[in-house]
């Protein structure tokens, strides 16, 4: 792992901006709802700008870890504050910035305990940012947990349908995951005998036995895999998506599930390549089951958000399958899918959020004809649906293409099964589109307003990102490639 120090600590600046935003929101009086929203918007816009800067400024030809910052923290424990990004985390930072910004804008009309909501929201995002850039296992784990805890409150206080159940289930599942990750980290650090939590040091110098790698990788895979929605540990995710308020669903499905997959990649695959190779067939099997199973279970849902939840299970299976292939194509596709799926579900939930705000109805049997009443809002929903189906020239297509390609190469049977899920996916998502947007207008919704330009902004941004990376996938792949080539060529 090559480290290239930062001229300017832009990564820490992202965290600082988040924390400053958090402090400002906390210090503002609760009555000043509008001010809270403006502060949150500015904070998210600045972080988005910084993450775009990181994406653009990242030197693809150079590769490796860039923008690295290194501070001693607790030398006696071997903990130091190291941040850095490579081709895997740069897209995910960008994703977080985008979803943060659009999430805040999506909640513009939100009116209940505004201050507390945005404080929690910013805290959650801070954890996510920290997790994607941390190169010290201790910090990585802390940020990981920082990003989980606000989720419980966000769902319980501001959620809907069955929120106590959904929040509790989500929290318990994810804590169970943490309970596997922490022992895994401690075990590896102890096993290395180097007394450091620094990821670069461990990757470059530690020599783990095959047994240690297999054991630790298993812990990481299950621990992070729960968050990544790996079948059969996925049932928290649809329930959690449904219960959460719109912006939290966006962040949750859009970014949080990627934290899980990223954890497997960053901790599991970087530290335990032999464990990766050992468990890869199991990963591929579970991922393939997840792809088909998510689509099938989605066919029987009646609630819009449940449908998206299950489609997420299916799409995250694509990530798992790509990672299991252990090829450049597979890893490229998996990371691209993380990004594309993040933006896509964010758009999906954002569009559903608007529909729900206006109709207070999520059973799609009771909707119908919305494209007639709100063509623009319906259009965003349809665009998200088409992305989910894997229509070319929209971002996810390229991810699925590469992952399936890798799967055909390494696991032809799983590849064939996964391809067939594309047809089921098309069926169940188009059914939802038909029931929601098409057909005769339900007279109840006849007078609903279409989304205004201002409120439509976040959706427009997300749609734009989907189309831009759908037409120009090379913008993203060149970045990802710089990391995946190194990772794959470094395999034993």
């Amino acid at each position: 792992m090559q480290l290239h120090s930062a001229q300017f600590p832009v990564l820490s600046l992202i965290l600082l901006v988040c924390l400053a935003g958090l402090a400002a929101v906390v210090l503002l009086p609760a009555e000043k709802k509008q001010a809270v929203k403006y502060v949150s918007t500015v904070c998210s816009a600045v972080t988005l700008g910084l993450s775009v800067y990181v994406f653009v400024a990242y030197d693809r030809a150079l590769g490796g870890m860039q923008f690295v910052e290194h501070l001693q923290w607790a030398p006696s424990l071997g903990v130091s504050y190291i941040n850095g990004v490579d081709g895997f985390s740069v897209p995910l930072l960008l994703l977080t910035g985008i979803v943060f910004f659009t999430g805040v804008l999506t909640m513009w009309e939100h009116d209940l305990r505004v201050k507390e909501f945005f404080a929690m929201f910013i805290l959650l995002v801070t954890g996510v940012f920290g997790m994607f850039m941390a190169l010290d296992l201790f910090f990585l784990f802390v940020w990981y947990d920082v990003s989980l805890f606000p989720m419980y409150l966000l769902i319980v206080i501001w959620g809907s349908t069955n929120r106590e159940y959904g929040a509790l289930k989500l929290t318990l599942f994810l804590l169970a995951g943490s309970a596997l990750i922490l022992p895994g980290i401690v075990y590896l650090v102890a096993e290395s005998g180097m007394g450091t939590f620094s990821l670069p040091a461990l990757v470059n110098n530690a020599d783990f036995s095959p047994f240690a790698q297999k054991l630790a990788f298993f812990l990481f895979y299950v621990g992070f895999g729960i968050l990544a929605g790996v079948w059969p540990f996925h049932t928290w995710s649809p329930a959690g998506h449904v219960a959460a308020p719109t912006a939290v669903s966006m962040l949750h499905a859009g970014v949080l599930m990627k934290i899980g997959a990223f954890g497997i990649l960053r901790v599991g695959m970087f530290l335990c390549p032999e464990g990766w190779a050992f468990w890869a067939p199991v990963m591929a099997l579970l991922a393939t089951i997840g792809i088909v199973y998510g689509a099938l279970a989605g066919l029987r849902q009646t609630d819009l958000k449940f449908v998206i939840g299950y489609s997420s299970v299916s799409h995250m299976g694509v990530v798992g399958l790509g990672l299991a292939a252990m090829t450049v194509d597979g890893v490229n596709g998996a990371v691209f899918q993380m990004f594309a799926h993040g933006v896509m579900t964010a758009l999906f939930f954002s569009a559903v959020g608007y529909i729900y705000d206006k109709t207070h109805e999520r059973k799609f049997a009771n909707l119908g004809g919305l494209s007639h009443v709100m063509p623009v809002a319906g259009g965003y929903f349809i665009l998200a649906a088409l992305t989910g189906i894997g229509v070319p020239c929209l971002a996810s297509f390229w991810a699925e293409l590469l992952v399936l390609l890798a799967a055909f190469d390494v696991y032809p049977v799983y590849g064939a099964v996964a391809v067939s899920a594309l047809a089921i996916n098309a069926l169940f998502i188009l059914r939802v589109v038909e029931k929601t947007c098409f057909g005769p207008v339900n007279p109840k919704w006849e007078h609903l307003p279409d989304v205004s330009f201002g409120l439509g902004m976040p959706r427009l941004v997300l749609a734009g990102v989907i189309v831009i990376f759908g037409i120009m996938p090379f913008l993203m792949y060149e970045t990802i490639q710089s990391a995946s080539m190194l990772l794959i060529s470094g395999l034993p």
């Binding site: 099938l296 293409l401 590469l402 594309l422 089921i424 098309a426 207008v441 792949y477």
Partner: protein
């Protein structure tokens, strides 16, 4: 020669521009002109006219070149996988380009009349532009991945256009059905494509065709059959054909486009494009021949009993596509492609005529149209007669020339069964075509009712609708005589040495069959006091079988609702709720229960606790004393 390269670069630029113009129109309309229908139509027409001009220039100047012109740029690189985009100009792609642009242009002009006043006018032209652009890029694709990408976009635009009147459930459902059923085929296509990419590492169609990929023959057969899956879906062949008859829920001009030069043509075009590659596998080609034959005969029988004018033309599309696939599978490259071109012309013509009739009489039922006095509408009736004659294969209309070429290819096969099936198809085609014509022209009880002025309601839109139809009728008249130059232009493709004319007995035989079929139709539907009942309708079971589309829809419906919805999908849902969550819930229950049990230990009386405390302290002290 420096001059030549400059010229060829200009032409490549024209190829890119031809493909890009409709996309630009799509974006422009979608973002800026949604509320300006007139401007939207103007932009869309201008774009497709630009493409048409470029296509004609290219056709005139480049079609004779010896080596194909191509320009390729890298779209994406991942590891060793390079995916490129580009334009590939050779005889096939240029001719197809001209056909696509021509029909798109005519249909868009026609739509000015047909769609006038529709609230979604601008949206309609946006989708039409997307459709045209996707099809053009598909036609020009040098690589298989690009072809697949635009293949999917063609499917997407059809979804949007078939379901254009989305307020109608039937329309949105038909759009969904079209997308999902073609997607089912595309899944196989994608699998075949990935297999080729993984095993051969080449996506360039030219490289695949000349064997540069070094694939084993088994691999070629497997991937070819998988790719045929996509063709079966797109070109609506057995058993995925049922989406096409439903697709007429879209506006009629959309059907005209869908059935002629774009959507369904893509499947046949793919076979033609990769013809040398597929020719390497006899087994795959035999499979294709069988699929084409079955679809051709099956859908012809469906057309014999339908009352819906658009449905008859839809079935005949499936049937004619089957003919094309038969020709290509039998090695008749020119015959298949030529029939694709002539069919594109006369099928667009037939649909546009049908659209004028439907527009005038507000009904799809041919009996109603006939009784309403359709014979009074001179232009659509005459043009429809031209189209019908071409579809039946009567000299000198274009269908005769191409159908003869198809039959000539079938003659060259060892097994005569294919030829017999083909001739049976010719008979059935002529029968159902003229059944429709006679029903409309000679309605039962003719002379009694007379529409006041059939063209009354459509006068406003008539001009825009009439001219494209007349032009297409003219094309149908002349295209048959262009067989020789088209064959020459296509020669660079593959089978330059195939027969165009069969043995001397073939043309009289097929013409004899056609006239026999017309005679049967005349006896049953045309003459005075005709019973207006076809010979198949006399046998209830057979008529029912044909009318219900050989129960294919029922079988698919059963498969989706029983096997998928209530079978696999329900099983997964139950597994989620009962097995996985059941386990989780029981785990949580066990945690709570064990907490209760442990808590019980804390509920005892204070004396007991003190006793326990003393006992523990005493025990620990003893242990310390002993060790100490």
């Amino acid at each position: 020669m420096p001059g030549a390269s400059v010229i060829s670069e200009t032409w490549l630029w024209a190829g890119w521009a031809a493909a890009a113009a409709p996309f630009a129109a799509f974006v422009l309309i979608l973002f800026l002109l949604r509320r300006r229908p007139g401007a939207a139509a103007a932009v869309s027409l201008a774009a497709v006219a630009t493409s048409m001009v470029f296509a004609l220039c290219l056709l005139v100047c480049c079609v004779d070149m010896e080596t194909p012109l191509r320009s390729v740029v890298t779209w994406m690189i991942s590891g060793d996988t390079v995916i490129s985009a580009g334009v590939h100009l050779d005889g096939l792609s240029l001719l197809m380009l001209a056909v696509v642009c021509g029909i798109c242009l005519l249909v868009q002009v026609y739509s000015l009349g047909y769609m006038a006043g529709d609230p979604g006018f601008a949206r309609y032209y946006a989708f039409m532009s997307l459709f045209a652009g996707a099809m053009i890029f598909l036609v020009l694709a040098p690589g298989l991945v690009q072809l697949y990408i635009f293949w999917e976009l063609v499917g997407l635009s059809s979804y949007l256009l078939i379901g254009f009147w989305f307020e109608k459930f039937s329309a949105s459902r038909a759009g969904k059905k079209a997308f999902v059923m073609t997607r089912l085929g595309d899944v196989a296509f994608l699998a075949g494509l990935l297999l080729l990419l993984v095993r051969g590492g080449v996506m360039d169609i030219a490289a695949l065709s000349n064997g540069a990929a070094g694939l084993s023959s088994g691999m070629i057969t497997v991937s070819a059959v998988l790719i045929f899956g996509g063709v079966i879906g797109k070109s609506a062949q057995f058993p995925l054909m049922t989406w096409l008859p439903d697709a007429m829920e879209g506006p009629t001009p959309v059907s005209a486009l869908l059935h002629s030069a774009t959507m369904v043509a893509a499947g046949v075009f793919l076979i033609a494009r990769m013809f040398p590659f597929f020719s390497q596998s006899d087994a795959a080609m035999t499979f294709l021949l069988a699929v084409g034959t079955v679809s051709m005969l099956m859908s012809a029988t469906m057309a014999m009993v339908s009352r819906d004018i658009k449905q008859v033309w839809a079935y005949s599309t499936i049937s004619q596509l089957g003919f094309m696939l038969m020709a290509l599978a039998a090695g008749g490259y020119f015959a298949g492609v030529f029939h694709l071109f002539t069919h594109a012309g006369f099928k667009a013509l037939l649909f546009l005529c049908a659209g004028m009739l439907i527009h005038a009489f507000h009904s799809n039922d041919m009996f109603v149209i006939g009784q309403g006095g359709a014979r009074g509408l001179k232009i659509p009736m005459l043009c429809m007669a031209v189209g019908a004659a071409a579809l039946s294969g009567i000299w000198p209309f274009s269908g005769f020339a191409s159908k003869e070429a198809v039959l000539a290819t079938l003659v060259s096969l060892e097994n005569p069964a294919w030829l017999i099936a083909g001739l049976a198809g010719v008979f059935l085609t002529a029968y159902y075509t003229f059944r429709l014509v006679f029903i409309i022209v000679f309605p039962a009880g003719r002379g009694q009712t007379r529409a006041e002025d059939p063209a009354r309601g459509v006068a406003y839109a008539y001009g825009a609708m009439a001219w494209p139809v007349i032009l297409l009728a003219f094309a149908t008249l002349v295209l048959g005589f262009l067989a020789a130059p088209i064959r020459h232009w296509l020669a660079a493709g593959a089978g330059a040495h195939e027969a165009v004319h069969g043995p001397a007995w073939l043309a009289p035989l097929s013409l004899g069959l056609v006239f026999a079929a017309i005679a049967v139709a005349w006896v049953e539907f045309g003459r005075k006091n005709a019973s207006q009942t076809g010979f198949v309708e006399r046998v209830r079971v057979v008529a029912e079988l044909f009318a219900r589309r050989w129960y294919l829809d029922d079988i698919w419906g059963w498969a989706v609702s029983r096997l998928l919805d209530r079978g696999a999908a329900e099983a997964c849902r139950q597994a989620d709720n009962r097995v996985i969550d059941g386990f989780v819930h029981s785990l949580a229950g066990a945690a709570v229960a064990s907490g209760r049990v442990l808590a019980r230990g804390h509920r005892v009386m204070i004396q007991a606790r003190l006793m326990i405390m003393f006992a523990v302290v005493f025990g620990l002290t003893c242990i310390m004393l002993i060790w100490g």
